[in-house]
């Protein structure tokens, strides 16, 4: 069963523009906590690039005992971060799908100011659809394995 825990979207300066809990088992984070987590992760992403023994990009994936975190950074510096249960497949496909929804319903929205929190109604709706789609794709894939 593909269990996603949380989704975060972080802008180029480290500010949180969107966060969403995707499961009741996800840790409950207050708005302040999410904001702080967003900027901390942004900083760590950059530090990982610095301490790398060879030329490298920032953090792409964290695997721990209790969850996986996958991060997709676009060419403009926006980070899409999702946490999920250990063993959940295809997280990068999910993040790319979310990036598509973001480009279509946020960036192309003439009333949206870049780097500000996302309040686009169509984005929320299509995001839910996209997540559902990937969730069932991953679950069916696992069953057939």
């Amino acid at each position: 069963m593909a269990t996603y825990y949380q989704l975060f979207i972080i802008n180029r300066n480290g500010g949180l523009v969107y966060s969403k809990s995707l499961a009741p088992t996800a840790p409950a984070l207050s708005t302040n906590d999410s904001l702080r987590l967003g900027s901390t992760f942004h900083g760590l992403h950059a530090i990982a690039q610095q301490i790398a023994p060879i030329v490298s990009g920032g953090i792409e994936r964290l695997e721990t005992e209790t969850f996986i975190l996958q991060c997709f950074q676009t060419l403009t510096g926006v980070k899409f971060v999702v946490t999920a249960a250990p063993g959940t497949p295809d997280l990068d496909a999910l993040l790319r799908g979310i990036y598509e929804v973001y480009s279509d319903y946020v960036l192309k929205n003439p009333f949206y100011e870049v780097d500000m929190p996302i309040r686009c109604d169509l984005f929320h709706r299509f995001l839910d659809k996209q997540i559902e789609r990937h969730r069932s794709l991953s679950t069916n894939k696992r069953r057939s394995l």
């Binding site: 825990y5 949380q6 760590l44 301490i51 964290l62």
Partner: protein, 115 residues
């Protein structure tokens, strides 16, 4: 990579500390047990003992999870050659100055079937 190994060590320590805090926040159970941190070009493997010693290895991107290996280094090499050494004085500051330990760790790492 970095011109200053001291600086690199400090950065690494700071990063690991913050990373563990972030991991604890994201985790549904609050555990900060990090196994692996992957970037596009390298992987950082991490293991922390119950007593607080942290073992870290940086490898190329094609290496699988070395968590069990780090655990082995801790229980079979560190414990044997460092903790059980009656001359070993743990004061949290000095690096481990035990040539036998260094040799054993190197031997073990060389023996792993890893590129």
């Amino acid at each position: 990579m970095s011109d200053d190994p001291e600086e690199e060590r400090r950065l690494m320590f700071g990063m690991l500390f913050s990373l563990k805090e972030v991991v604890a926040r994201f985790s549904p159970t609050g555990s900060d047990n990090l196994h692996v941190m992957k970037t596009s070009n390298f992987i950082l493997h991490h293991f922390q003992s119950l007593t607080g010693f942290v073992f870290v290895i940086n490898t190329k991107a094609d290496v699988p999870d070395l968590y069990a290996n780090l655990q082995h280094i801790y229980s079979n090499i560190f414990i044997e050659y460092v903790a059980k050494n009656p001359l070993y004085h743990f004061n949290g500051e000095d690096p481990i100055d035990n040539p036998l330990f260094a040799t054993k760790v190197e031997e073990y790492l060389m023996s792993l079937p890893v590129p």
